[in-house]
C-alpha cells in the first residue's frame, strides 16, 4: 500500500513534468529532471528490511516515466531498479536531510540516472554525439537537483501518512531512515 501510494504520487509528478517542462522559460527543454530516478532513490533509501518491494515500486515508476516521457518501454524501469539498489546500499552511510544535502543528493541521482540511460542507449546503438550527451547529463543533474527537495518532501508526506507512531511520523518528515 505504501509503495503503491509512492508510485501514484510519482505518476502525478511525472504527468506534470511531462506537460509543463516544455512550457517553462529559460530551461533546456530536451533535458527534463529525472523524476523516476529521484523516486527510485527515495524508495531505496527508505526501504525498511526488504529491498524487493522498493525495487518493484522503482521499476513501476520507471515504466511510467518511459511511457510519459516517450522513451522505449523498460529503459527508465531498468535504471530505476538500479538506482533504487544504489540508494539502498548507501542509506546507512548518508543522511539526506536539509535543503543543501537534498539538493546535492538529487543532483547526484539525476547525473547517475542520466549516465545509466546514456550507457544503455549506447548499448542499444543509438549513436549519440558525445558533447551533446555530456551537456544533457549536466542539465538533467541540475534540473533533478532543483526539483529534488519538492519530490522528497511529497514522498516524506506519504511516508508520514503511513507511520504507525508519532515517532515514526516525525522521523519520516525529517527524512531519517532506519
Amino acid at each position: 500500500m505504501r509503495t503503491s501510494s509512492h508510485v501514484l504520487v510519482a505518476y502525478l509528478v511525472l504527468l506534470v513534468v511531462a506537460s509543463v517542462w516544455r512550457l517553462l522559460p529559460l530551461v533546456p527543454h530536451a533535458a527534463a529532471p529525472d523524476v523516476g530516478g529521484l523516486v527510485a532513490a527515495y524508495l531505496g533509501l527508505t526501504a525498511r528490511g526488504r529491498i524487493a518491494p522498493a525495487v518493484a515500486g522503482a521499476v513501476m515508476v520507471g515504466y511510467l516515466a518511459d511511457l510519459l516521457g516517450g522513451a522505449p518501454t523498460g529503459l527508465h524501469a531498468v535504471v530505476g531498479g538500479l538506482v533504487c539498489i544504489l540508494g539502498h546500499l548507501v542509506h546507512r552511510r548518508i543522511l539526506v536531510r536539509g535543503l543543501t544535502m537534498t539538493l546535492a543528493f538529487s543532483a547526484f541521482v539525476g547525473a547517475a540516472a542520466a549516465v545509466a540511460v546514456v550507457i544503455i542507449s549506447e548499448l542499444a546503438d543509438r549513436g549519440l554525439a558525445l558533447g551533446s550527451t555530456g551537456r544533457s547529463v549536466l542539465q538533467i543533474a541540475l534540473g533533478t537537483g532543483a526539483i529534488g527537495p519538492t519530490v522528497f518532501w511529497l514522498h516524506r508526506r506519504v511516508d508520514a501518512a503511513f507511520a504507525r507512531t508519532h515517532r515514526e511520523r516525525d522521523a519520516a518528515l525529517e527524512g531519517i531512515t532506519s
Binding site: 506537460s19 529491498i51 518493484a56 522505449p72 529503459l75 543509438r126
Partner: protein
C-alpha cells in the same frame, strides 16, 4: 533477517530488474506499445492535455495581469479611455496566442493538396536520447496510424510512432533513430539525414558518385535548402527539412558530410499537421489541351 530470506529478497530484486531489461530489449526491436502501455497512455494523455491547458492558461492570465498593472500606474489620467481598448487588446492577444498556430496550420492545409489533419502538442519527451512529442488529434480518431508524416507550415517535424485513441506519439526528425531521405535541389544531390539527438540540428551524410569536377557541380554549400526526396515512400517529396549549416569535405573528396539546421523550431511546437495521405500525383497531361468528344449528334468518319 536470516541469510536465506535475504537471499530470496535480493534474488527477487534482481529478477524485478531483469524483467524490464527484457521488455526494453523487445521494445527497442519492435518499437510497438503493448495493450497495457496503450491503456495507461489513454488514461494519461487527457490528463497531460488538461495540465498543459491549465498551465498555459494560468501563465497567460499572469503575464497579462502584470502587464495591465504596469500600464495602469503609468497612465492614471487616461485610464478610463484606455481601459476598454486595453481589454480588447488583451482579449485579441489571448485569442491570437491560441489561434496563431492553428491558423498557420489552416493556411497550410488550404495550400497543401494532401489529405491532412490538425493536432495539438500536449507533451514532449523528457529524455534527451529519445526525441518525441505527444499530440492530441483534433478530429478523425482512428485515422492516424504509425508512419504518417507530421509537418508544420515551416517544414517537416517527424512521423507518427504510435497512435492510441485520439492521441499519438511523434518521433521528431532529430531523434537518433530518424532517417529521412532528402535532396538538395541546388546541388542536385541526395542522401539520408540522420538525427543526432542534439537540441537542434541533424547530421547528414551525402555520398557523391564521382570526384568533384572543376566546375563545382554537385557541391553542397552552406545555406542550401534541404527538402525531402520522396524516396522510400516514408515522406512525400518536396517538404522543407532545413538548410545546410556546415559542410565537411573529406580529403579523398568522395564524401561530403553536412550538418542541417532544421526549418522547424522543434523545441517550440504547439500545433502540427498529420499527413493522412500523400498529395495526388500531378497530371502528366495537364499542359495539353484536350478536345471533348461530342456527346450528341453524328460523329464524322
Amino acid at each position: 533477517m536470516t541469510f536465506r530470506r535475504r537471499l530470496v529478497d535480493w534474488s527477487l530484486a534482481g529478477l524485478l530488474i531483469l524483467v524490464p531489461a527484457m521488455v526494453l530489449r523487445s521494445s527497442l526491436k519492435t518499437g510497438n506499445h503493448t495493450v497495457l502501455d496503450d491503456a495507461i497512455l489513454r488514461v494519461s494523455a487527457p490528463l497531460e492535455s488538461a495540465v498543459s491547458w491549465l498551465v498555459e492558461g494560468v501563465g497567460g492570465i499572469w503575464s497579462r495581469y502584470v502587464g495591465l498593472v504596469g500600464v495602469e500606474s503609468e497612465n492614471r489620467e487616461l485610464r478610463a479611455d484606455n481601459e476598454r481598448l486595453r481589454k480588447e487588446l488583451a482579449a485579441a492577444q489571448r485569442r491570437a496566442v491560441d489561434t496563431d498556430a492553428l491558423a498557420d496550420l489552416l493556411e497550410l492545409k488550404r495550400r497543401s493538396p494532401a489529405d491532412a489533419i490538425a493536432a495539438r502538442v500536449i507533451a514532449a519527451s523528457t529524455t534527451p536520447q529519445f526525441r518525441t512529442i505527444r499530440i492530441r488529434i483534433d478530429r478523425g480518431q482512428g485515422e492516424v496510424a504509425a508512419g504518417m508524416p507530421v509537418i508544420t507550415s515551416a517544414g517537416l517535424v517527424g512521423k507518427i510512432l504510435d497512435a492510441y485513441g485520439d492521441h499519438a506519439d511523434v518521433m521528431l526528425i532529430n531523434d537518433p533513430d530518424s532517417k529521412v531521405n532528402v535532396v538538395i535541389p541546388s546541388a542536385g544531390r541526395g542522401g539520408t539525414l540522420i538525427g543526432e539527438g542534439a537540441d537542434n540540428g541533424y547530421h547528414g551524410k551525402i555520398e557523391l558518385e564521382r570526384p568533384l569536377d572543376a566546375s563545382g557541380k554537385g557541391v553542397v554549400r552552406e545555406g542550401d535548402l534541404v527538402v525531402t526526396s520522396g524516396a522510400g515512400g516514408a515522406f512525400p517529396a518536396g517538404i522543407v527539412v532545413g538548410t545546410v549549416a556546415s559542410v565537411t569535405v573529406k580529403s579523398y573528396r568522395m564524401v561530403q558530410e553536412i550538418e542541417v539546421e532544421p526549418a522547424v523550431d522543434l523545441g517550440a511546437l504547439r500545433a502540427v499537421m498529420v499527413l493522412l495521405a500523400a498529395p495526388p500525383a500531378p497530371d502528366p497531361d495537364a499542359e495539353h489541351k484536350r478536345k471533348s468528344e461530342p456527346a450528341f449528334g453524328t460523329r464524322p468518319l
